[in-house]
């Protein structure tokens, strides 16, 4: 996972969206495939802890799972990194995401 940490581990929903939309489909796909394989075990590990008291390595794993979710929009729905026919950089901002790493 280390090779993905620097790029995909982001603290907010907005940043995860921006990272994904700035990536090529190959980069998104590479991360998606690697992380999807790890996701069930990662979530099982994370479930051991209360969500508001994750030790940092586990929190990092959670953020990567969240990044996987963002990447999945490109892979499972759009078939490309970004929504077609929309302006880029995207003018919509996520001012506040869900609580915890939002």
């Amino acid at each position: 996972m280390e090779r993905f940490l620097a790029y995909w581990d982001r603290p907010t929903t907005e940043e995860r969206w921006r990272q994904r939309t700035a990536s090529s489909m190959e980069e998104i796909r590479r991360f998606y495939d690697a992380m999807l394989a790890k996701a069930p075990a990662a979530m099982a590990h994370i479930r051991q802890f209360p969500i508001d008291a994750l030790p940092e390595p586990s929190a990092r794993l959670m953020r990567l799972c969240l990044a996987l979710v963002n990447a999945s929009i490109s892979v499972e729905m759009l078939g490309q990194p970004r929504v077609p026919y929309s302006p880029y950089p995207q003018p919509v901002r996520v001012i506040r995401g869900p609580v915890y790493w939002g």
Partner: protein
């Protein structure tokens, strides 16, 4: 050409007392019309500012920009739980008093010369007061803006005094929508954008489902249309004076496709209402039973979008509610804000599902608004002077009618007739 018959069409436009002619494009592109909207609509109507939960305790305050009225608005909650709004303007030389967006403070000090106000607007301290000339502090309170609360929604009115009460303004809609329990009203996911389009172009985009199969084919298209309703026609449309609502259709058989592994993973441990709302179903019973929600109790229900005049959308669905506000910043630019009220996640599975909901929604919103600047450009070219609207676009027609009514009326009472 398809002939219109009773059996192959909906009947919302005529049923709501409107005619069927194409509508003028002028209100979307005319600076002069925008000035009339500013004076006759935005300076006279009750405007939605947010939820009472955004002022969670005595001493809480928020600041809201209302560019169309050239105002920054300070909204406070005092120790008696009284909610008031003020122009965020120091009584000395007009500086902006509060620079933060919100917080908890019972006194506010202007950073220019140190004038200090209580959260009830009273001026309490003036440095070097003796060197003024007969300064009466009691006459230097913050200028108050009429404020009222309906069902936990804070409204303000820039008229001094407002011609009609909030209760009169909301009328039968206000009564019909009483008692809806707004779950998770204390937390919201918030999207914002500044767009180069008239505020109505953007409000219109969220007031019809006709666009869904074309604009959202991969993100939500299969959830809003089906063999039985291929064009995503509304289930119902209703109007109350200047306000309006439509009920959208949901494909009850939607499941994530086979290869949507992450979507399936995200939803595997959470039973959410549907893909366009985030909260779990178990809290929604009381909400769903309310007579005003999904009025016809259609089993194929996705969401009700209620458009409270002039610029506030209050949308509800099986999993919760969300809002849109469309704040004009000029005749052809808008600050749009959408808030989705979802619970604080109690566990990692819920947090994961919420991320999927927000991530999909972010791209859905991008699909909607990506179109709006192109539309504005097309309208401003004056290539066309009218727009034909179909029956499913009845809310757009109603909005234009009502705005024209307010612009033409000599009083709010006349506009509400």
């Amino acid at each position: 050409m398809n002939a219109r018959t009773i059996s192959n069409t909906t009947n919302f436009t005529l049923a709501n007392g409107m005619d069927t002619r194409p509508v003028s494009t002028e209100p979307y592109i005319s600076p002069a019309f925008f000035e009339m909207e500013r004076e006759k609509v935005f300076r006279k109507a009750w405007l939605s500012m947010g939820r009472i939960e955004q002022l969670p305790e005595p001493g809480s305050y928020i600041v809201r920009e209302v560019e169309v009225c050239k105002a920054s608005v300070l909204i406070t909650r005092d120790s008696n739980d009284q909610v008031r709004s003020f122009y965020n303007v120091c009584s000395h030389r007009g500086n902006t008093l509060v620079l933060a967006e919100g917080g908890k403070q019972t006194k506010f000090t202007c950073r220019y010369h140190g004038w200090t106000y209580r959260n009830d607007g009273g001026l309490v301290a003036v440095p070097d007061e003796v060197n003024f000339f007969n300064l009466d502090k009691k006459k230097c309170a913050l200028t108050e803006i009429a404020t009222d609360i309906w069902e936990g929604w804070i409204f303000i009115n820039f008229a001094s005094p407002p011609e009609v009460s909030l209760e009169t303004f909301l009328g039968q809609l206000g009564r019909d929508y009483r008692g809806i329990p707004y779950e998770n009203a204390d937390h919201s996911v918030k999207f914002e954008s500044n767009l180069n389009a008239n505020w109505k172009v953007i409000a219109d985009a969220f007031a019809e489902s006709y666009h869904v199969p074309m604009i959202h084919p991969q993100t939500i298209g299969t959830t809003f249309a089906s063999k039985d309703n291929p064009f995503a026609r509304p289930v119902a449309v209703q109007t109350w004076g200047p306000h309006r609502s439509f009920t959208t259709f949901a494909n009850p058989n939607y499941v994530p496709p086979e290869q949507a592994h992450v979507e399936r993973l995200a939803y595997s441990n959470v039973v959410a209402g549907n893909v366009i709302s985030a909260a779990p179903l178990e809290n929604m019973e009381k909400f769903l039973k309310h007579p005003a929600i999904n009025r016809t109790k259609s089993k194929d229900w996705a969401a009700d979008a209620t458009w409270i005049f002039p610029n506030f959308h209050l949308d509800v669905s099986p999993g919760g509610f969300w809002t849109h506000h469309f704040w004009p910043t000029s005749y052809n630019s808008t600050r749009w804000v959408a808030e989705y009220f979802i619970p604080v996640p109690k566990d990692a599975d819920t947090r994961l599902q919420q991320e999927h909901y927000v991530a999909r929604n972010a791209d859905v919103l991008l699909e909607d608004i990506g179109n709006t600047e192109r539309t504005q450009k097309g309208l401003e070219s004056r290539a066309k002077s009218v727009m034909p609207l179909q029956d499913g676009e009845a809310l757009i027609r109603h909005s234009l009618y009502q705005i024209q009514k307010w612009v033409d009326a000599k009083s709010v009472t006349e506009a509400l007739l």
